[in-house]
């Protein structure tokens, strides 16, 4: 990179500036190399586990067979969480931006932001000790009344520590970030569009469908993608809430549930040693790759949204 200047003749760089610029550049390089380091170190430590044969590891499975149900569980839990969180977030964001009295909007925003401040281990504790038992009757009801659907085939878990409970906790955890982004986008809707709709005699809801939602569509999608990235990587809540058994199943309410990569690492790592550690690091690499892809896609969408919205 040329640190020289726009003007060829300027040959003087003050020592103070050189030092300061140097420190700044080094910090930037540290960040770039950390990111590279994450990929490199995980690969270096993970590859032995990923290539190990079935009889060398505790699980007794090849890496691919070991990781597949985990990948499924990771995606499955995140997708259900998103299915729950998306409508609620959009609703809450609309409530804050267009329904709640203007004076209340900001304090309400703070309250929702408080949800983001709660540490994940607190969510986990609450999920395992409070939520599971209070939501369990719902699973019994679902099995009895909607048991013909594969999702609710049952038998309903007696503890309530199912993948649906974990997904509900995940949904609560990603709710604040989704709400915050949606709220920002809704508030950015050009005032003129809204007033144009209202001037046509539209009700509030018609104004929202005419002016706000079309404008915000791609923003909502990228908010959901970012939330998906979070849900995929969230560890503790799932590790604590879910009673997992490494199966692939779409059954949401039974006591045999697929685990997620992150939760599996947290649960197995403290007792693992040797190649098993390597296997776990390998699964971490897979998780990193998945979240990386989701985040890059989300950022690309956000960038495109910015270009086309005309509201910077």
């Amino acid at each position: 990179m040329s640190t020289t200047t726009e003007t060829e003749t300027r040959a003087v760089v003050r020592p103070g500036d050189r030092v300061f610029r140097g420190i700044s550049s080094i910090s930037a390089i540290v960040i770039v190399s950390t990111l590279a380091g994450v990929a490199i170190f995980l690969t270096a430590e993970g590859v032995p586990g990923m290539t190990a044969s079935a009889d060398q590891v505790k699980s007794g499975e090849t890496f691919l067979r070991y990781v597949t149900p985990l990948v499924f569980g990771t995606l499955w839990a995140a997708v259900i969480a998103l299915a729950i969180a998306t409508p609620v977030s959009i609703g809450v964001a609309l409530f804050i931006s267009h329904v709640a009295p203007r004076r209340l909007a900001q304090p309400i925003g703070y309250v929702i932001d408080l949800l983001a401040a709660v540490p994940s281990v607190v969510y986990g504790s609450w999920g395992i000790l409070t939520l599971s038992s209070s939501i369990q009757p719902l699973y019994v009801w679902l099995e009895r009344n909607l048991g013909f659907l594969p999702f609710f085939a049952g038998p309903a878990s007696a503890t309530g520590r199912t993948i649906l409970t974990a997904a509900v906790v995940l949904a609560i955890m990603v709710l604040p970030i989704m709400t915050a982004i949606c709220r920002e986008i809704f508030l950015q809707t050009p005032r003129l569009h809204e007033e144009a709709a209202l001037a046509l005699g539209a009700t509030r809801w018609e104004m929202i469908t005419m002016a706000v939602l079309p404008y915000a569509r791609s923003g909502i999608v990228s908010a959901a993608m970012l939330a998906l990235g979070r849900a995929l990587g969230e560890t503790m809540a799932v590790a604590m809430v879910l009673s997992a058994s490494g199966v692939i199943s779409v059954n949401l309410i039974s006591s045999t549930n697929p685990s997620t990569i992150a939760a599996n690492i947290a649960l197995s790592f403290p007792e693992a040693s040797g190649l098993d550690v390597s296997v776990l690091i390998g699964t971490g690499l897979v998780l990193f790759a998945i979240t990386f892809a989701v985040n890059v896609a989300a950022r690309a969408l956000v960038a495109r949204h910015r270009e086309f919205s005309g509201a910077n």
Partner: protein, 259 residues
């Protein structure tokens, strides 16, 4: 302390875009030179090139020579930081540092350069600069209040005091009154009259009456055409420029037929 500026064949670029072309001008010492012209004609850009402030914008560069007392500003080994200590600048909008008091603002140019001033020295610098900027009487009892507590016109005079506290030879003023009310404007115009006894002053203004009121020499800038670079059209004593300009475009602009 008598500094004149001679500019020869100056071209100013933003990346590959030629913004100002072929300026030759001589700015005399202890006089006020006004730059007038329609918006976007490059007069502010040219002004900023006189103390290398344009380099704060990425991709800006110049070709040509700017001689200050015979020394080329763009010569080898010239540090823009030193250039700016000799050639101060006052901006369109008053911009006192919000984290500093009135006195600290005046001293900013000295203190930010790491100079250590004794209390008595510092007080003297503050008083002298504020007196010369015609602000002393109004602020002497509240020197430790934030600079932003002043009115717009006072803030602008504070910025002038801040600029002269560095003891430059030249003061560049980029539309210094455009954000001010008429009374503050007139106070600042009076101030310019007083300051020209000691400083070489260059002022960019949108307001032709102001140019006529304050300047000894006027330069008219105009665009050579749509999408073409700005250039210096005519330069002359202010009375002649307003009474009897040589160039028809100057006359048209001064009579308010465009711009």
């Amino acid at each position: 302390m008598a500094t004149s500026i001679d500019v020869s064949d100056l071209n100013i670029y933003y990346d590959d875009f030629l913004a100002v072309e072929g300026v030759n001008i001589s700015i005399p010492a202890r006089a006020v030179t006004a730059f007038i012209g329609p918006s976007g004609c490059g007069k502010s850009t040219f002004l900023r090139s006189l103390n290398r402030m344009h380099e704060a914008i990425r991709g800006a560069r110049v070709e040509g020579k700017v001689l200050v007392d015979g020394e080329d500003l763009y010569g080898r080994g010239i540090d823009p930081v030193d250039v700016r200590r000799r050639i101060g600048m006052v901006f369109q909008r008053p911009n006192p540092f919000p984290t500093m008091s009135i006195a600290q603002n005046v001293l900013a140019g000295r203190r930010l350069n790491g100079e250590r001033l004794k209390k008595a020295e510092a007080d003297a610098v503050v008083e002298q600069a504020l007196r010369r900027a015609g602000l002393w009487a109004e602020v002497k009892d509240r020197l430790d209040r934030p600079g932003s507590s002043l009115s717009g016109g006072q803030q602008q005079r504070l910025c002038i005091a801040r600029a002269i506290a560095v003891e430059p030879d030249v003061l560049l003023m980029d539309e210094p009154c455009s954000a001010l009310d008429p009374i503050s404007t007139s106070v600042i115009e009076d101030l310019i009259h007083e300051l020209k006894a000691e400083y070489t002053i260059v002022i960019v203004t949108h307001n032709m009456q102001q140019a006529a009121r304050v300047s000894d020499q006027t330069a008219f800038f105009n665009l050579a055409g749509v999408g073409r670079p700005g250039r210096l059209v005519e330069l002359g004593p202010t009375e002649k420029m307003f009474a009897n300009p040589d160039d028809p475009a100057t006359e048209a602009y001064i009579q308010g037929r465009f711009g």
